[in-house]
């Protein structure tokens, strides 16, 4: 397999491991872009999804927003924002957030909406305020699904953050874009491998987060 060969050549080249264009720098840039985008998207998607799911309304509006968000091409949005706003982080953040909001929003909404209604009824009947019903009764039960929405969003962000390189920013996309223009397939394969590896690491992080945050009562009965 020449793909494996390229990868091996890329990773065994010592010059790829340090400096301005070294793997540690690019990796940390990539992680930084991805985390920022995920935080923004979660800040928008989680509260809206939780509240709409709690009241069980606005599902159709959410579906529309989600479809529109998915339909907007990330790459096109990046180029457009770059033309409009110019060089910087904002043109990169906008497409990434637009990409990540739909899965977070829709999954969170569905997760809260599909919580068994009887504990919710019991909680209200015992005199629990609505905010507590949402945060202490619905959210803990919906958490596995909410996390899976965040996980999907995170993986899409990690994979798509490569486009930042097209507008002269860093991140692992640098290897892919530079490799493309330099016809250096070693770099492209190496960069792709790193992104895939980062995505797998993201999976592991979310798996661990679910182990820690989800109550054993929910994990085993769900």
């Amino acid at each position: 397999m020449n793909v494996l060969h390229f990868a091996q050549a890329f990773f065994s080249d010592g010059s790829h491991w340090h400096g301005r264009d070294g793997i540690p720098t690019r990796l940390s840039e990539h992680v930084k872009y991805s985390l920022e985008a995920l935080l923004f998207a979660a800040a928008v998607g989680l509260p809206v999804g939780l509240v709409t799911g709690h009241y069980g309304r606005g599902g159709n509006a959410l579906a529309l927003i989600a479809t529109a968000g998915r339909a907007l091409p990330s790459f096109g949005l990046l180029v457009l924002m770059f033309i409009w706003i110019g060089f910087g982080m904002v043109p990169v953040m906008i497409p990434l957030v637009v990409l990540a909001v739909p899965p977070i929003l829709v999954t969170t909404y569905e997760a809260v909406r599909s919580v068994d209604p009887s504990p919710v009824d019991a909680a209200r009947g015992m005199g629990m305020p609505e905010s507590r019903v949402l945060l202490q009764v619905e959210l803990p039960v919906a958490l596995p699904l909410v996390l899976s929405g965040l996980r999907t969003a995170a993986i899409q962000i990690v994979s798509t953050a490569t486009i930042a390189a097209y507008v002269s920013l860093g991140g692992l996309g640098r290897y892919i874009i530079d490799g493309l223009y330099q016809r250096d397939y070693e770099k492209v394969v190496g960069g792709a491998g790193l992104v895939a590896g980062l995505a797998l690491a993201t999976l592991v992080v979310f798996w661990a987060a679910a182990r820690l945050a989800v109550s054993p009562g929910v994990r085993r009965s769900g």
Binding site: N60, A63, A68, P73, L105, S159, Y166, L180, V188
Partner: protein, 218 residues
């Protein structure tokens, strides 16, 4: 907006030509993905142990950036439409396999037992019971796959202008005409939304037994 649909000649296509090209590059992969996903999903339903490794593999494939995929495939297919469509087909596959598996698995055991009791063979049972009941889940998967596929075609611009509507983005930067970028983004989004609406319609037609509005966000 002046010159919104007035495309530079180096794009080689008119506006509608680009739309047609975009649809072809975006939809053929979904169709191919569906054709491969059906048997793969059936395999996962039949042999439960197949599913987790398949799921793992597809997640890894999904995480490979489209651009990297394209570049690597140039080696095999050149700077061609095929190079753009193969990764898109793989992404569709990744979305569709779990959707179909979950859909087919969600068919109630009672229903299957009833079908068996009435003398349905395995093939008939699959075609006449499991698949129809799984239609909503499959269409839900198709909607995500189709919309994503259409939106990803644009990236193909980077490999020798194979991005259909995405190619307008290149012209937008070279000739400094932001309107072209707006056109590209909006047209792509509208195609996605229309394809999505069409699939919703197809689901309504295929599943008259479903309550018309479930108020669900998917």
């Amino acid at each position: 907006m002046n010159g919104f649909f007035d495309l530079p000649s180096d794009l080689q296509y008119g506006y509608l030509g680009l739309v047609g090209l975009h649809l072809r590059e975006g939809l053929i992969p979904v169709l191919a993905g569906l054709l491969i996903a059906l048997p793969v999903a059936q395999l996962c339903v039949r042999f439960r142990w197949v599913y987790p490794p398949v799921l793992g593999l597809t997640t890894v494939l999904y995480s490979i950036p489209s651009l990297a995929f394209f570049v690597v495939l140039i080696d095999y297919f050149g700077q061609s439409e095929t190079t753009v469509m193969v990764p898109l087909a793989i992404y569709s596959l990744v979305v569709l396999v779990p959707a179909i598996v979950d859909g087919v698995r969600s068919v109630p055991q009672d229903t299957l037992a009833a079908a068996r009791a009435m003398g349905f063979g395995p093939v008939r049972r699959y075609l006449q019971v499991q698949l129809p009941i799984a239609v909503p889940a499959i269409i839900a998967g198709l909607r995500v796959a189709t919309v994503s596929s259409l939106s990803l075609v644009s990236v193909g611009m980077l490999i020798g202008n194979q991005g259909a509507l995405g190619n307008m983005l290149y012209s937008a930067t070279t000739y400094n005409r932001p309107a072209l970028a707006v056109n590209s983004v909006l047209t792509t989004a509208v195609l996605g939304v229309l394809a999505d609406a069409l699939l919703v319609l197809v689901r309504r037609l295929l599943t008259p037994w479903m309550p018309p509005t479930k108020g669900a966000a998917r």
